[in-house]
């Protein structure tokens, strides 16, 4: 485990790596560098693709009502429909089994297809695919609303505290401490249990009201450092107002921290929502949520495992993608971040170094 590295070789590599990195970022703006780094992060790009596809898939599946308008979904069932429980093709004694088939007919399966009820049916015959789609919509919506509210509040509180310092900072940070001491799950449960019937929008809204604390601390720290930098002094000497300094000079520099923590906030939010719904304090019946579905059907795992697998898989897919996107963003915004240098690049750099070719 403790194998000695050749120090001289490391020093040599450093020079080569720097040359490679410098060459890569030549003539690019900060935004372009970040974008380039993000695109190179395979996990993050893959996850972005997955989440985009998933969003379109999930939100277009069921009928959506926006005011008086009704947008029809592509799936032939809705959560309110009550088709008959089917038992064709199921094992002995089971009803409502899933019809999804992933084995092509060449290999002896029924061919790739969704079938009538791809994820099966629940106890009373409702199409489980439609329920899972509705649950995923709820979870994603909660996730985005919490991200938006928490992100906005956290940025505002953090930047005001960090920029003005003094008593403003003290008051705001003590207030943040108050909120931090109350665990999110406690506050969520207290409000959720008694106002759960107000719907998923309200749930997301008040969870967002308590989700900004970590972010505001980070933003404050960032503002405290940035406001002492020379470019802020320069702007102030040039006569810029506080508002201009905050929005034009400091905020663009802090945007990396904000974006990254909002992503992580969102992945935490989806787990919080499912946990609250599982406890019965989040989304409540007759509305549907992924956590609620798992909570309702956890006991049927041994007999009808699909009722348990599919909502869980959706939660994991969404949270995992968001986490990977967050990781990619963090790498992209972190100036110290180094990617792995391939052997070929290292070779090229060494050749350039030896032959004296300027970069």
């Amino acid at each position: 485990m403790f194998k000695r590295k050749n120090v001289v070789e490391i020093a040599g590599q450093d020079g080569g790596e720097n040359a490679i990195f410098n060459k890569e970022t030549e003539g690019l703006s900060q935004g372009q560098i970040v974008l380039k780094r993000f695109i190179r992060h395979r996990g993050a790009m893959g996850s972005l693709f997955v989440i985009a596809i998933l969003m379109i898939f999930v939100f277009s599946a069921l009928d959506q009502k926006i005011g008086p308008f009704k947008i029809p979904g592509w799936w032939h069932y809705n959560t309110e429909d009550l088709p008959e429980l089917r038992s064709i093709g199921c094992k002995e004694g089971l009803v409502g089994c899933p019809t999804i088939s992933l084995r092509p007919s060449i290999l002896g399966g029924q061919g790739i297809g969704l079938g009538e009820h791809p994820f099966g049916q629940d106890d009373i015959g409702r199409d489980y695919f439609a329920l899972v789609m509705r649950g995923a919509q709820r979870s994603m919506m909660v996730m985005f609303v919490i991200g938006a509210i928490g992100g906005t509040l956290g940025t505002i509180v953090g930047s005001i505290a960090g920029f003005y310092r003094g008593w403003v900072d003290a008051v705001l940070m003590r207030f943040t401490d108050f909120i931090i001491t109350i665990p999110a799950i406690i506050i969520g449960s207290v409000v959720g249990y008694h106002y759960g019937n107000l719907g998923v929008g309200f749930l997301a809204f008040y969870l967002g009201l308590f989700a900004w604390t970590g972010l505001s601390r980070l933003v404050r720290g960032e503002f405290l450092t940035l406001r002492e930098r020379e470019f802020v002094d320069a702007a102030r000497v040039a006569g810029a107002s506080n508002k201009r300094i905050i929005f034009k000079h400091i905020l663009p520099n802090a945007v990396g921290v904000i974006i990254v923590s909002v992503t992580l906030l969102m992945s935490g939010a989806i787990l919080l929502e499912t946990a609250l719904s599982y406890l019965g304090f989040g989304v409540v019946a007759p509305d549907v949520s992924l956590g609620l579905l798992i909570s309702q059907y956890q006991d049927s795992f041994t007999t009808r495992p699909w009722l348990f697998w599919y909502p869980g898989l959706f939660i994991i897919t969404i949270a995992l993608s968001i986490n990977f996107i967050g990781d990619g963003l963090r790498d992209a915004f972190d100036p110290r971040q180094r990617r792995r240098i391939s052997k070929k690049e290292r070779h090229t750099a060494r050749v350039m170094h030896k032959t004296g070719v300027q970069k």
């Binding site: 109350i182 249990y193 787990l271 406890l279 798992i294 956890q298 795992f301 995992l320 986490n323």
Partner: protein
């Protein structure tokens, strides 16, 4: 220092006051405790409402009622804390007293396991940055981040409890499993050990064969039905521990440390049967504690005997080795208890439970049975909580160690010719631990939130259960008591983290070892 602690404590009191005030009022206005009675047709409803109003002082508006509650809490300083009454006219404190140890037990073990596992894996991934192992562990960490704990819990119940119990009825491992596990283990180890292709293959084949052989042996001898190590295997493991601990703690070149660690292993072999006698006849928590103290005393003596000049590292090595060897000995004893425990009527050959915190049917009196019972019941919840929280430690310790390894003082340490072991273990690892301690302590408090769900899934009766009851029955005093405990733990954890931070001086002491 004292002034600092008092100032911080004062601040924490203010913070707790503020947040409890906010929560109390939010909880009070979010519902009506008399709601059920108001709509009730029971002729006694009015009287009951009056009694409840009087008992819980519901006629006082919430902001003022908060101060009545606070007066009870402030009794803490005169030695008589009063959490008030629950709705069914019981003392909140008596409910809390039984619940707190349960939750702390659950959270404590899970956090310790998560810390040890997470930091070990995190450090290995940092030392092997961009290796296959690193990528695999990064993925695993993100997967763990994304798992809902209640979902994992159901899976664990099915596969680690129900199916494992089925397996124990006839503990023959199927050949497919043996091959699969051997290959998987080989892949893991060959990914960790760096080197050229030949060495990777060597490690892979060696580890896979060793694993396969061991599993086949265990399967053929039905070891899982009647596990145990015996003196020989215990001694072999002890020697392994002696070498491992010495390598990490001082390096194998330190003869004094190596000798004293080996001596600890030999002593444990000599004392094997006397220990068994003690275990059989005088088993109690006190005995284990006494043995722990004795082990440390022996370790100190052995270390002093072997060390000529630099005593502290030698004694430290002997103590760590002695402690771990002691753990092995106790584990061995528990393994011997396994079969008799399984055969009791209460357990009836299905030892891994899916719910509950103790087996109520088990006859009390036998120390080993009841301890094993507690351990077995903690098995699944601990795994669930560990899985969820150790991913954070992997990511964090990896990131911190990578940061530290880029520092100038690491370059200096290498440049002055220290061995790689000394650079990693003394210069890098210790500096990595400083920010990690803060995370650990705060995490310990935060994981209590996770315990609420875990308790619910596994049917434990702890703080989480009380919390659920408090919310569904609108029991404000109970809710506030739960919050007061978790909230105080959180702020105290923050204080401890700060103190630890200043205690862990990052400067590296000079001296050999």
């Amino acid at each position: 220092m004292v002034a600092f602690i008092f100032r911080r404590l004062g601040m924490l009191a203010v913070i707790l006051f503020g947040s409890s005030f906010i929560l109390y009022n939010m909880a009070a206005i979010s519902g009506d405790p008399l709601e059920g009675l108001r709509t009730s047709t029971d002729p006694n409803a009015a009287r009951q409402m009056a009694v409840l109003t009087n008992e819980l002082k519901l006629d006082v508006p919430p902001p003022l009622r908060y101060f009545i509650w606070l007066r009870g809490i402030l009794g803490l300083f005169v030695g008589h804390i009063d959490f008030g009454m629950t709705r069914d006219a019981q003392l909140v404190s008596s409910a809390i007293v039984t619940a707190v140890p349960t939750t702390v037990r659950l959270v404590f073990f899970a956090t310790i396991t998560a810390i040890i596992l997470g930091i070990t894996i995190g450090i290995v991934t940092a030392l092997r940055q961009y290796s296959r192992f690193d990528y695999a562990m990064t993925f695993v960490a993100f997967l763990m981040f994304s798992l809902p704990i209640f979902w994992v819990a159901v899976l664990l119940k099915e596969f680690l409890a129900i199916q494992f119990n089925n397996f124990l009825a006839n503990p023959q491992i199927p050949n497919g499993w043996i091959i699969g596990l051997s290959v998987a283990n080989g892949v893991i180890w060959s990914a960790i050990i760096s080197g050229d292709r030949k060495r990777v293959w060597q490690v892979f084949v060696g580890v896979a064969l060793a694993t396969g052989g061991l599993l086949s042996y265990l399967s053929i001898t039905s070891w899982f039905a009647k596990p145990g190590l015996g003196p020989i295997v215990t001694f072999g493991l002890s020697i392994g521990i002696a070498y491992g601990v010495t390598q990490l703690s001082t390096g194998l070149k330190n003869q004094a440390a190596l000798r004293s660690a080996q001596t600890m292993a030999v002593i444990s072999l000599i004392l094997y049967y006397p220990n068994q006698y003690l275990f059989d006849h005088y088993a109690s928590g006190l005995l284990i504690l006494g043995q722990l103290v004795t082990t440390f005393a022996i370790a100190a003596a052995v270390g002093l005997y072997f060390a000529k000049t630099d005593r502290a590292p030698t004694i430290r090595t002997a103590m760590i080795a002695g402690f771990l060897i002691g753990v092995i000995t106790v584990v061995d004893r528990f393994m011997h208890t396994w079969n008799p425990y399984m055969s009791t009527d209460a357990v009836n050959f299905r030892p891994v439970p899916t719910t509950g915190q103790v087996n109520p049917l088990l006859e009390p009196g036998n120390f080993w049975f009841s301890s094993l019972d507690i351990l077995v019941h903690m098995f699944l919840p601990t795994i669930a909580l560990t899985l969820i929280s150790f991913a954070g430690y992997i990511r964090y310790s990896r990131g911190t160690l990578l940061d530290v390894l880029n520092q100038d003082y690491i370059r200096t340490a290498r440049a002055k010719g220290l061995t790689e072991r000394t650079v990693i273990m003394r210069h890098a690892f210790r500096n990595t631990m400083i920010p990690l301690t803060t995370i650990m302590v705060v995490d310990f408090a935060g994981i209590i939130g996770g315990a609420i769900i875990t308790e619910r899934v596994f049917g434990w009766i702890g703080m989480g259960t009380l919390f659920n009851r408090a919310i569904t029955t609108f029991d404000l005093n109970l809710l506030m008591a739960v919050f007061f405990i978790t909230g105080s733990l959180t702020v105290l954890a923050n204080l401890v983290a700060d103190l630890l931070y200043s205690a862990l001086d990052p400067r590296i002491r000079t001296g050999k070892g």
